[in-house]
Amino acid sequence: MLAAILSLTILGAVLGTVLGFANRFFQVEGNPLVEEIEALMPGSNCGQCGFPGCAGAAAAIAAGQASPTCCPPGGRSLAVTIAQRLGVSVELGGAEDPGPLVADIDESICIGCTRCIRACPTDAILGGPKQIHNVMRDSCSGCAQCIDQCPTEAMVMQPLPVTLQQWFWPKPALRA
C-alpha cells in the first residue's frame, strides 16, 4: 500500500513537472486578435453566449461566426468596444434593452448555505454560513451561475434599477 502511494505520488510529481515545462516551451502562439478580444470579456466563463467560456466566444467573434453582442453580461458597452476593435458596426437593441441583469437574493428564504458564494466568479456575494447573503450589485457580472446553486430558489436575476444619475432622455420617436 505504502509503496503504491509513494510511487504514484512521485509519478504524479514528475509528470506534472514535465507537463509544466512542456507548456512553457511548446506553447502555441495564440491568435493575437482572439486574445485581445478575450481580454475585453468578463472572463466569468458563464456560457450564456452559447460557447464554452469566454475564450470560445472570443474565437468565434474573431472568426466572424458570432456577433459582438453575444455576451449578455458584457452588455452594450462590451459589444461596442469589440465592434470598434474589429471595425464593424453592430445592431444594438433599441430602448427596450433592459440593461445588465444582476442577481438578487430574497432575504426571507436565504438559508445561508454559502453555495452561491462558491459559484460566483467575482466574489460579488457577501455572507457567511447560516447568515443571510447579499449581492453587491456593482460587482455582479450577471453571469447567473449562482442562480441554480441556490437550494431554496432565493436567487433571481433582475435588471439594475435606473437611478437619477443614470437616466437619460430616450431617442425621440420617429415621426411619420
Binding site: 458597452s77 466568479p121 467575482t122 457580472s141 437619460f168 425621440p172 420617429l174 415621426r175
Partner: protein, 517 residues
C-alpha cells in the same frame, strides 16, 4: 457705450437667437416672499456631485438653517432645514426631473415658528482669510444659482488651482420668461454688490464685471447706483441675445478672450458666478445663513399672478403656483410644465415636485407659448438654419442624423461634446425637430457606455482575483494534503503500525479535498 463698441460686442459671437423674451409683466411685479408651507420635501442631492448624507433621524426637531445633510466626497454640498419643524420621513421623494424618478430626501413638517438656529455672524468679512470665506460658503451649502448648481466654495477660494484676475458676474439672464435675477438686482442691488465685493476679496481677482443684458434698464440703473462707491466693480451692458448667459459666450463678449475648447474659464484667469449666488454668499458670510430659500420666477400664460417669489427650498412647485393665484383654464389650459426656462429648463410630468437650489423658474405654458402646430412632424429640409443659429458653430442637422441612425460615435466626431444644449437650433428649426433631445439622448448613451466599460473592467479584475485566489487555495490545500500524508506515513513507520491508519488519514484528507474542490 458707443455704437461701435456695441457692434463689436455683438459681432464677437456668431449664432444665437432673439426669442420673444416674455419677461414682462412678471419682471415688473413686486417681489413676494412665500411663507414656509406645512410640509417641505428636501432632496439630499440638489447640486452637481455626490448626494449629501442625512444626519438627522425621523422624529428629530430641527430649526431653520440647521444642517440636515452632510456633504460626501470632494464635490458635494451641505443641505439645511428650510424652516423649523419635525423630521417626518427620510426616504424617496419625486425628483424635480423629467424622468419622475425618486430621489432620497428629508421631509419636514413645519411647526409654523420658522425659528433660526444659532448662526455665526461676521461684521467684517473683508478681514477674513479667503480660505475661511470658502469654508463658510461651503458650510452654508451655497451652490451656483444660475442653474448648474455647482458647489460655489470650490470656485471661490483657490479651489481651481489657477490664479484668477477677473471675476465675472453673470446677470445676463438671457433665458426667456425668467426674471429672478432682474428682480433681485432691482430690489436688492446693495446686497448683490456687497456679495460681489466679498467674492472679489475671496477670489483675489483684481476687478469684477457685472454683465447685464440691455433689456433690463431698471436693473442696470439700480446696479450702477449700487456700485458707485466700489472702484473695482463695474456694470457692463451687453446686447440681448440668447445664449448670452452661457459662460464661454459671456466671457468672450466681456473680455474678447476665448476659453479653450474643453478648458475652463480659470485657464484664462476668469471665474464666473451668478448674481444670485453673490447674495447667497453674502448671507452665508455676513450672517452665517445657509442657502434655505431662493428666488423663483413663476410665469407663463396659465399662471394667474405671474411674478417673482422667494421660496423656501423644498416647497412643492404646485404650492408655489397656488401662492401665485393658481392656474388659469383659458387658452386650452396648461400645455407644458417646466422647471427653469423654456430653452434649457426641464419639462416635468407633475408639479408635485420640490423647488431645489437650482430651480430658477416654474413655468406653466399654454399651447400658443409652446408653439406647437405648424411644421410639426416634417423631416429635415436641410435649410441650414440650425447651423447658423448654433452659437458653438456645430452642425446640428448632421449630429442629429447620426444619432437618429444610432451612430453616437459618429455624432461625437461631429462635436457633440461641445454642444451646450442651449436649444437655439431646435428653436429655429422649421420642421420642429427635437434636436436637443437627440443630443441629450446621445450624451446619455455615451455616458452609459463609459459606465458599462468601467463596470466590465471592474468585473474582469474581480474575476481574475477570484480565480487566482481559488487556485492559490487549491495549491495550498494540495500541499497541506501532501504534508499530512507524509506525516502520517512517518508516524506509521515510526510506530510500526498497520498501514490502515495512514490509509485512513489519506482517505480523510482526500475526502475533504473533494468537498472543497
Amino acid at each position: 457705450m458707443g455704437i461701435l463698441d456695441r457692434f463689436l460686442r455683438t459681432a464677437r459671437f456668431s449664432g444665437g437667437v432673439h426669442p420673444d423674451d416674455h419677461k414682462r409683466p412678471a419682471a415688473d411685479a413686486p417681489l413676494r416672499v412665500m411663507p414656509p408651507p406645512a410640509r417641505l420635501y428636501v432632496p439630499l442631492v440638489q447640486h452637481i456631485g455626490s448626494p449629501a448624507r442625512a444626519i438627522v433621524a425621523v422624529g428629530d426637531h430641527v430649526r431653520k438653517g440647521q444642517r440636515i445633510g452632510e456633504p460626501q466626497g470632494a464635490v458635494s454640498a451641505a443641505i439645511h432645514a428650510p424652516t423649523s419643524g419635525r423630521v417626518n420621513a427620510i426616504g424617496d421623494i419625486v425628483a424635480p426631473h423629467p424622468s419622475g424618478l425618486p430621489v432620497r430626501g428629508i421631509t419636514i413638517a413645519s411647526d409654523g415658528r420658522d425659528e433660526w438656529c444659532e448662526l455665526e455672524t461676521c461684521d467684517d468679512p473683508f478681514a477674513l482669510d479667503p480660505a475661511e470665506i470658502g469654508r463658510r460658503v461651503a458650510r452654508a451649502g451655497v451652490v451656483g444659482l444660475g442653474g448648474a448648481a455647482f458647489p460655489s466654495a470650490v470656485k471661490i477660494s483657490g479651489g481651481l488651482g489657477a490664479r484668477v484676475d477677473l471675476l465675472i458676474i453673470n446677470a445676463s439672464e438671457c433665458e426667456p420668461f425668467l426674471s429672478c435675477d432682474d428682480r433681485l438686482m432691482r430690489d436688492r442691488a446693495a446686497e448683490s454688490v456687497d456679495g460681489i465685493a466679498i467674492m472679489l476679496h475671496a477670489t483675489g481677482a483684481r476687478e469684477a464685471r457685472i454683465g447685464i443684458e440691455d433689456n433690463k434698464p431698471e436693473a442696470i440703473a439700480a446696479m450702477r447706483a449700487a456700485v458707485a462707491g466700489h472702484a473695482r466693480i463695474r456694470v457692463e451692458v451687453i446686447p440681448t441675445r440668447y445664449p448670452m448667459g452661457s459662460e464661454k459666450h459671456l466671457i468672450l463678449v466681456l473680455t474678447g478672450r476665448e476659453v479653450p475648447a474643453e478648458g475652463r474659464p480659470s485657464d484664462i484667469g476668469v471665474v464666473v458666478h451668478n448674481v444670485g449666488t453673490a447674495v447667497a454668499v453674502r448671507n452665508a458670510v455676513r450672517f452665517g445663513r445657509p442657502l434655505v430659500s431662493r428666488m423663483v420666477t413663476v410665469n407663463g400664460a396659465c399662471v394667474r399672478q405671474p411674478g417673482n417669489v422667494e421660496v423656501p427650498i423644498g416647497t412643492l412647485a404646485g404650492e408655489v403656483l397656488a401662492f401665485c393665484g393658481g392656474l388659469r383654464a383659458e387658452h386650452g389650459g396648461p400645455a407644458r410644465l417646466l422647471l427653469g426656462g423654456p430653452m434649457t429648463g426641464m419639462q416635468v410630468p407633475t408639479l408635485e415636485v420640490p423647488v431645489i437650489k437650482g430651480t430658477g423658474g416654474i413655468l406653466v405654458l399654454d399651447a400658443a407659448e409652446v408653439g406647437e402646430g405648424e411644421g410639426d412632424g416634417s423631416p429635415c429640409i436641410r435649410c441650414g438654419d440650425c447651423m447658423r443659429a448654433c452659437p458653438v458653430g456645430l452642425l446640428p442637422l448632421e449630429i442629429a442624423a447620426r444619432v437618429r441612425a444610432g451612430e453616437v460615435d459618429a455624432a461625437a466626431r461631429f462635436g457633440l461634446a461641445d454642444c451646450i444644449a442651449c436649444g437655439c437650433c431646435a428653436y429655429v428649426c422649421p420642421s420642429r425637430i427635437p434636436l436637443v433631445q437627440y443630443f441629450h439622448h446621445a450624451k446619455g448613451e455615451l455616458a452609459a457606455r463609459a459606465r458599462g466599460t468601467q463596470r466590465n473592467e471592474t468585473i474582469r479584475t474581480l474575476t481574475r482575483a477570484k480565480a487566482e485566489r481559488v487556485e492559490r487555495e487549491e495549491r495550498e490545500k494540495a500541499e497541506a494534503l501532501a504534508r499530512r500524508a507524509a506525516a502520517s506515513l512517518a508516524a506509521a513507520a515510526a510506530a510500526k503500525q498497520p498501514a490502515a491508519v495512514a490509509e485512513k488519514a489519506v482517505e480523510d484528507a482526500s475526502e475533504e479535498a473533494g468537498v472543497c474542490a
